[in-house]
């Protein structure tokens, strides 16, 4: 049965926009160590400051990226939906979540182990390059969107 589950997960990963065009071998390697997770609204998927060793692919649903402080309630600074990815802290030391992740509605994710991802990408630089070619535009887009948020474009 595990084989069938892995096959299904391989299909889910291969059809996710982030992995579109990646080699079948890479997708199978990732799928072998990935699991599917489901959450309902308000479930905490990750907590800011804790160990971050997972890359999430959002298959369905929507999640909020939250920042909090002891003296104020958490603030959602971005939402991420199906077809997008969440989590880059697994790639950047010290591998701690920089934000919390909360489900906003029933959400289905693929969780990919960050440690295995790091080792796989290190062992296969061609895959590593392909991965980074996809990963950097996501980070760049989020940086640009954050800059636009700083502009306070609805202000007068």
């Amino acid at each position: 049965m595990k084989g069938e589950g892995e096959h299904k997960l391989s299909r889910e990963i291969a059809s996710h926009p982030f992995f579109h065009g990646m080699t079948r071998e890479f997708v199978h390697t990732v799928a072998a160590e990935a699991v599917e997770r489901s959450f309902v609204a308000d479930d905490m998927i990750a907590v800011e400051g804790t160990e971050a060793d997972i890359l999430y692919l959002v298959l369905e649903g929507k999640v909020a990226l939250e920042l909090g402080a002891a003296d104020r309630p958490p603030i959602t600074v971005q939402t991420v939906g199906s077809g997008e990815i969440v989590g880059w802290s697994w790639l950047v030391p010290p591998h701690r979540w920089r934000f919390s992740i909360r489900a906003l509605k029933p959400t289905r994710l693929v969780a990919i182990d960050g440690g295995i991802m790091r080792r796989t990408l290190h062992a296969h630089p061609d895959w590593g390059f392909q991965f980074m070619v996809r990963f950097m535009p996501v980070l760049a887009e989020r940086l640009e969107n954050t800059r636009i948020q700083l502009l306070d474009i609805y202000g007068r």
């Binding site: 609204a41 929507k62 909020a64 990226l65 939250e66 309630p73 958490p74 603030i75 959602t76 600074v77 971005q78 939402t79 939906g81 909360r102 906003l104 509605k105 969107n145 636009i148 948020q149 502009l151 306070d152 474009i153 609805y154 202000g155 007068r156």
Partner: protein, 288 residues
């Protein structure tokens, strides 16, 4: 309430002058946010302004305080007008303090509105940021009245926080329609918000339309207009199919005083709606 609000507006010696404001009475005041209200106005007597086109504006006069250009957010065939006003200066502050029964002056409608008729048969993307929804509201009701004449309708509404969203209940009603799609997004939110968070431009990639047969209407602060138009252009919507509503300090509203000059155009007379193709070269020029 301003002391002069109860003056007799029909006593003006200039009542027949084309620039003389026509008296209207505040019928109701709805609080949208702590500094934004929606005024529903009825003509004081039989005289009323001519019918307006979506995207036009009125000059609204608070007696004894001054006059301000306010976009028309709605109206009826019997002369009722709807204006949504944010308290930003002396006149708009006075407008937000009006109460039912108060009288004010209205002249208009002025300016070129949204090219709704030209958009028939096409997909429509309507993007509002901040207080951008009120000038677009008449567009939406015109489309609702003639829905079959248009293709897909995508509405994107953005604000700083959920508390800054105007027409919230009305937008929830539009959400129940199956013949259009609405995305509402804010820049930041607390845990009681289950909608999208991110600037309006982040919703453009998810909007469903065919670029070559799409017309886009954008209204909001100028930086938001520019960034949204760029995001639509990145999705291959032609610049001459994107329309923006410009905002300038309008005084006379008939292209005489020059307060709202936008290079060779006057926003009051030649706008406020411009095609992005025409306005694009000027959006990066300082103090145009």
């Amino acid at each position: 309430m301003a002391a002069s609000v109860r003056m007799d507006p029909t006593s003006s010696a200039d009542a027949g002058h084309p620039l003389a404001p026509i008296p209207y009475v505040v019928r109701s005041v709805a609080t949208e946010t702590p500094d934004i209200v929606t005024l529903t106005l009825n003509p004081h007597a039989t005289k009323r302004i001519p019918p307006f086109r979506p995207g036009q504006f009125n000059m609204v006069y608070v007696y004894g305080v001054g006059e301000s250009a306010i976009s028309i957010s709605g109206g009826t065939s019997d002369g009722q007008l709807i204006h949504t006003v944010q308290s930003l200066g002396k006149v708009s502050n006075a407008l937000t303090r009006l109460t039912p029964g108060d009288t004010l002056g209205v002249r208009g409608p002025y300016g070129r509105g949204w090219p709704i008729a030209e958009a028939k048969g096409r997909d429509l993307v309507i993007v509002a940021g901040g207080l951008g929804l009120p000038p677009l509201r008449p567009v939406l009701y015109e489309i609702f009245r003639n829905r079959e004449a248009y293709g897909r309708i995508e509405i994107i509404d953005g604000a700083r926080t959920p508390k800054n969203l105007v027409y919230y209940d009305e937008v929830q009603g539009w959400r129940r329609r199956s013949d259009l799609r609405i995305q509402v997004t804010v820049d930041a939110a607390g845990r009681d918000w289950y909608g999208d968070v991110g600037v309006v431009t982040t919703r453009i990639p998810d909007a469903r339309f065919e670029p070559e047969r799409t017309t886009a209407f954008i209204c909001g602060p100028e930086i938001m207009l520019k960034l949204t138009a760029q995001a639509l252009a990145a999705r291959k919507v032609p610049a001459d199919s994107i329309f923006i509503s410009m905002e300038r300090n309008m005084k006379c509203a008939i292209g005489l005083c020059g307060h709202c000059q936008f290079q060779s155009s006057f926003v009051c007379r030649d706008g406020p709606v411009f095609s992005y193709a025409a306005a694009q070269p000027l959006l990066n020029v300082k103090e145009v």
